[in-house]
């Protein structure tokens, strides 16, 4: 009996092995790309635009690479209960992608906190992950986040995670520099949402402020679910802050913080990072609260807004507008770029399996993309350093200036 069971088990596992390995080894089969982005909640407009970008990248190649048909699945990592990304859903998405033998690449995530969940899982499974949106520094750069970062996300020690957007060590510093020189603020009150991304960028901001001689008069983690922040606003007024930096996203109540600041009479500049660079933020904050007369809102972004792109990027925006009838949200071009660099790597990979694709992505050098010509460095980061500062006028985002400059050379 025992022997028979063993025989059946080994037969099944042999069959499973063959079934799993076979499709990837043959020409004319399907390869699948999945994306995992928060499709439920206020990030929906942003992520719909990103998914459109991914689809356009696949369509450009006629839906196939090197004789392999490319399938695409748009997965949601948010849940209605949270209205935001949900660790359980993100973990389930990663598991599903790993178990599906056709999946060759994972485009995601949008939120750095979500990446923390799926990065180690995909790393162990040896599936390449390219993020169009994560900016938390510790995900890739040793010595810049928590002590165990980024090793904790790479249990195998290999680099399987890449991102096409510059990290927050650059963004936080840019925000600080802009506040100090362009806005002329000397005293700043720093708020964050206690999430990986928000706290991370607030920490970078505080470090840069300390280094540049700006005075940080307060550093507080808010409760993203609080009904209002009126008492914090009094604290901010009492501290004599000349500007407020909020490390967080639209989903973690950035708009409520701004509303309460304006209602409480604190007409000081409000600077926030790219997590608020979406139309949902303007809608939630209300048009009257974002004007220059009320102190102004300035949002940094790890790249150029759609209407400032040049070359392939400008071309993408033009085609996007023709196809979808509206301008893409800020991160659409990153979805597009992430998918393009993945397809390019699949094309270059000798064997169309997960390991070869990882090697091919890592070997990306001087890639001509919608964001300029850039490479992936040894940590899996883009060498692109172009950043922008934007404001809001008449209920629309308006480009203020570009900072950061040309991509640095990969070593």
């Amino acid at each position: 009996m025992i022997r028979r069971t063993a025989a059946i088990v080994s037969a099944i596992s042999l069959a499973a092995f063959l079934a799993g390995a076979a499709p990837l080894a043959q020409q004319g089969k399907t390869l699948k790309i999945v994306s995992s982005l928060p499709r439920t909640g206020s990030a929906n407009a942003q992520t719909t635009s990103m998914v459109n970008g991914i689809r356009m990248a696949i369509e450009e190649r006629g839906g196939q690479v090197d004789g392999f048909a490319i399938a695409y699945e748009d997965m949601d990592d948010a849940s209605p209960q949270k209205g935001n990304w949900d660790p359980q859903v993100e973990a389930a998405n990663a598991k599903k992608a790993i178990a599906d033998a056709e999946v060759i690449g994972y485009v995601g995530t949008y939120n750095s906190g979500a990446a923390k969940v799926s990065m180690p899982m995909l790393n162990k499974a040896g599936l390449v992950m390219i993020s169009p949106g994560n900016t938390h520094t510790g995900l890739t750069k040793p010595g810049m986040g928590e002590p165990n970062e980024p090793a904790v996300y790479r249990p195998t020690g290999k680099i399987t995670y890449f991102r096409v957007v510059p990290a927050d060590d650059i963004q936080g510093a840019v925000a600080c520099e802009f506040m100090r020189t362009d806005l002329g603020a000397k005293k700043v009150f720093v708020l964050h949402d206690r999430e990986l991304y928000g706290k991370g960028i607030a920490d970078v901001f505080r470090k840069s402020a300390d280094a540049s001689g700006m005075q940080v008069v307060g550093f507080e983690g808010i409760d993203p679910k609080a009904s209002n922040y009126r008492s914090l606003v009094t604290k901010i007024r009492a501290a004599g802050a000349e500007a407020v930096f909020f490390g967080g996203t639209t989903q973690t109540n950035a708009a409520q913080v701004l509303k309460d600041l304006r209602a409480g009479g604190a007409k000081v500049p409000f600077v926030s990072p790219d997590g608020t660079f979406e139309r949902a933020f303007i809608e939630a904050a209300g048009k009257d609260n974002v004007t220059k007369e009320q102190g102004g809102v300035y949002i940094t972004f790890g790249g150029l807004p759609s209407d400032q792109l040049t070359g392939l990027g400008a071309d993408f925006v033009k085609r996007y507008k023709a196809k979808h009838g509206e301008l893409p949200e800020a991160y659409a071009v990153y979805g597009y770029e992430a998918a393009r660099v993945l397809l390019d790597a699949i094309d270059r990979a000798e064997a169309k399996d997960r390991a070869s694709v990882i090697a091919a992505v890592a070997a990306t050098r001087d890639f001509t993309g919608a964001l300029g010509t850039w490479s992936f460095d040894a940590n899996g980061d883009t060498t692109n350093r172009m950043m922008s500062v934007n404001t809001i006028e008449n209920g629309e985002f308006k480009f203020v200036k570009a900072v950061g400059g040309a991509p640095s050379k990969a070593e």
């Binding site: 008492s231 914090l232 009094t234 304006r262 009479g265």
Partner: protein
């Protein structure tokens, strides 16, 4: 009554006067320590009064059928969606002067009626059939009702209306029009008592007084107190117990309706998840004050509002929840029946 209406007619336009009338004030960083304390007290009281109004809904229902009505916060959330739908459909943001004042009063009353009727129906559908069942079944039924309401809110937020940003993103927080400006109604030094604070005061105080009068001096109030003491004896005396319970749900819901409109006007953001936090704060307030005790709920609400403000100012915002729950635990250790709770009853 006539005089009260006349007073309201005078007050409401004062609250409604728009941004142009009074220039704004700038953050100058010159607040003295006393001013900071006073400002936090104003903010805390204002937030606390709203919590108190919701807490009354918890405590009334508990007093009469010993049920923690977990759906109460989510009922308030649906009330906010109702108010936003009405305000959006009628374009109330553009109303001014007497029309705006009348609209505001109408919005408050309509939302209160909506919440009262909804709470009455929930009792009829989800709680009344379980009257003879164990208290635990009733509690689970309340949690179920809460889930149903939350998902109704999620669906409601996806309706294709301008007020919901076209309904493109059902789960996103919705911006509530600023029908009442946050400009100062009174100002002492740099301490601001805003028009929204005045609104809170004008709505909550009369309601609390009215409720006290109702419970103490009317036939219905007498019947409610009798049912709370002993439903069987009350029934034997000829009181229609189910009717009284239904009325209690309707009144508690209506107070929640008033509270949710005031909440929305003050914070100007509503979301389908706001009921959880509203309900949690109010529930803590009710327990803190002694659940089943009306003045206790008001005291508890104000205490929580002020504690939150003071903790944000003098401790740190990230410790605020810890401070609030810490105080709750301390009070319950030394006074298990709450601050004003007279006797210890079997809790659910």
């Amino acid at each position: 009554m006539q005089r009260a209406i006349a007073a309201a007619e005078h007050l409401v336009p004062c609250i409604l006067a728009r941004a142009e009338a009074v220039p704004g004030f700038a953050a100058d960083g010159m607040l003295s320590a006393q001013e900071v304390f006073s400002q936090q007290l104003v903010t805390g009281l204002s937030n606390g009064m709203i919590i108190a109004l919701i807490a009354i809904g918890y405590t009334m229902v508990y007093g009469i059928i010993e049920l923690i009505n977990f759906a109460h916060g989510d009922l308030c959330m649906l009330g906010a969606y109702f108010a936003l739908t009405a305000a959006g459909a009628l374009g109330m943001e553009a109303w001014s002067g007497a029309g705006g004042a009348a609209g505001l009063v109408a919005l408050l009353v309509a939302t209160a009626c909506f919440c009262g009727a909804l709470n009455w129906s929930i009792n009829r559908l989800a709680y009344r059939p379980l009257r003879k069942a164990s208290k635990l079944s009733l509690l689970v039924s309340a949690i179920g009702a809460s889930f149903v309401l939350v998902n109704l809110g999620l669906f409601w937020g996806g309706l294709p209306m301008d007020a919901f940003a076209g309904g493109t993103s059902a789960a996103a927080p919705k911006s509530f029009p600023a029908l009442v400006s946050a400009l100062p109604a009174a100002q002492v030094g740099d301490v601001v008592f805003s028009r929204t604070d005045l609104l809170v005061l004008c709505v909550t105080v009369p309601l609390m007084v009215g409720l006290t009068v109702l419970v103490r001096f009317t036939r219905l109030g007498k019947a409610m107190r009798a049912v709370a003491q002993n439903p069987t004896a009350a029934a034997l005396m000829g009181i229609d117990v189910e009717r009284v319970i239904g009325a209690t749900f309707a009144i508690g819901g209506a107070l929640g309706g008033f509270a949710t409109v005031v909440y929305s006007l003050c914070n100007q953001t509503i979301s389908f998840q706001m009921g959880y936090r509203m309900g949690m704060d109010a529930f803590i307030a009710a327990v803190l004050g002694g659940i089943g005790n009306l003045p206790g709920a008001v005291l508890g609400g104000i205490l929580i509002g002020v504690t939150r403000s003071m903790s944000d100012q003098y401790v740190e915002a990230r410790w605020t929840n810890t401070v609030v729950f810490g105080i709750l635990i301390l009070i319950l250790v030394f006074r298990p029946s709450g601050l004003l709770g007279a006797r210890l009853r079997e809790k659910v």
